[in-house]
């Protein structure tokens, strides 16, 4: 769920249901490395409710696109970690044989 201005889509607040710090903090890390982002913050309105509010402000690009790119980058990183881990497990098994 996104709430932003109709005229200026470089700043928006997103509300994600069924999410928590796991994804919001990881995206925070990726987004703060993106030079297009001027502000990123998230909050959890109430711990009993699984909802995260994310605020993104950019230097002009649509906030939604920037968030999507951040998710993409994180997925790439996950893929890389997975490949590296797989390879490390294989190497270890080879070494133990």
């Amino acid at each position: 769920m996104e709430h932003g201005s109709f005229t200026d889509n470089s700043a928006a607040t997103f509300s994600l249901t069924d999410e928590d710090h796991t994804i919001a903090n990881a995206v925070r890390f990726t987004l703060n490395q993106d030079p297009r982002v001027t502000f990123y913050g998230y909050s959890i309105p109430h711990p009993s409710e699984a909802r995260v509010n994310i605020r993104v402000q950019t230097t002009g690009d649509p906030a939604r696109e920037v968030l999507k790119d951040a998710c993409q980058n994180l997925m790439l990183m996950c893929r890389h970690v997975r490949c590296t881990f797989d390879k490390a497990v294989e190497d270890l098994k080879q070494a133990m044989l």
Binding site: H3, V81, R82
Partner: protein
């Protein structure tokens, strides 16, 4: 894509790998990524656990719900879990969540006929799917096989009987801890320890020994050949500042400097046996990717919800 994104790609180095225990290093990434992995491993990697119990006969000393609770906590081998469907999402069954695609059936029949106490254990649970069975904790390191009987569910006296049918379903740790595949998942910052050798040379051997002994865990030691204080195990350091306080008490602050490398983590993972430790990490990464996909591809709507009416109006400058 975007301009100069300062994204780095992490490196992994495995230290130790056993079936239910893994220790590995993760470099060049941030604490938020490590924490996301840890949280997903504990709470969102799916496993299979008993979720519904139909008891036909129970004349044991424990009541029905007690036994059902204990059955739920038994870890089941869950290699199938990642490819299985959640019962609530299954369209093959009539909605009661008991078809072969979304669940596994178990039955247990035990009656004590001898005078000796009968232990009903997890080994007495018979599964309809041979890939989903209670985890076998047999330790082959020198124990007699008669001592490894599985997890004890209940003990029966002569004449007492237990007969039940149980359905196991896929779930995640967030819903109930019985579905969590991880016993413990921890990560620590990798410490970097520098000893100021010039200052160290001004100490006598007794002072060096008392300095080495002041650490609760064995981080330092005195090399017998050179009589110098050396770092023997940097990772035993638990970030208590005992050695730093001792150095200050001896009148030599700055004797040793300890930093935590901010982008280097050492993970220690212990699994319950439901999923292998290495498989647990891989599944966690997979689940994290799925969550990110869901966010990325979600159809977000801009019009105001009932509860967000005010927020929407405020955002639009109203």
């Amino acid at each position: 894509m975007e301009g100069a994104s300062y994204q780095r790609f992490p490196r992994v180095k495995i230290r130790e790998l056993k079936d239910d225990y893994a220790k590995f290093e993760l470099h060049d990434t941030d604490a938020s990524m490590a924490n996301a992995l840890r949280r997903v491993m504990i709470a969102e990697v799916p496993t299979i656990a008993i979720d519904l119990v139909e008891i036909e006969v129970n004349s044991s000393v424990l009541n029905d719900e007690f036994i059902a609770h204990r059955l739920g906590l038994i870890p089941l081998t869950s290699q199938r879990a990642m490819s299985m469907r959640f019962s609530r999402d299954c369209d093959a069954c009539d909605g009661d969540g008991q078809c072969e695609f979304c669940s596994v059936e178990f039955h247990l029949r035990a009656k004590c006929i001898s005078d000796q106490t009968l232990d009903v254990t997890s080994k007495d649970l018979y599964s309809s799917d041979h890939t989903v069975v209670p985890v076998d904790f047999t330790d082959y390191a020198g124990y007699e096989s008669s001592e490894q009987r599985g997890i004890i569910i209940v003990k029966l006296r002569r004449g007492q009987e237990l007969r039940l049918r149980a359905i196991a379903r896929k779930g995640i740790g967030k819903d109930h801890a019985k579905w969590s595949p991880a016993a413990t998942v921890t990560f620590m910052y990798e410490p970097e320890i520098h000893i100021n050798e010039d200052m160290m040379d001004t100490l006598t051997l007794e002072e060096k020994q008392s300095f080495v002994d002041s650490s609760p865990t064995r981080v330092f030691d005195i090399d017998p050949n050179t009589q110098q204080v050396v770092v023997v195990d940097p990772e035993a350091y638990t970030y208590d500042d005992e050695v730093l306080k001792k150095a200050e008490a001896m009148g030599k602050p700055g004797l040793v400097e300890i930093y935590a490398k901010e982008d280097s983590f050492i993970f220690t993972i212990e699994s319950t046996g439901a999923v292998k430790a290495s498989q647990l990490v891989l599944n966690a990464i997979e689940i994290l990717k799925q969550k990110l996909d869901a966010v990325r591809l979600s159809e977000d709507t801009v019009e105001a919800d009932d509860q967000f009416g005010e927020l929407g109006a405020h955002m639009r400058g109203g």
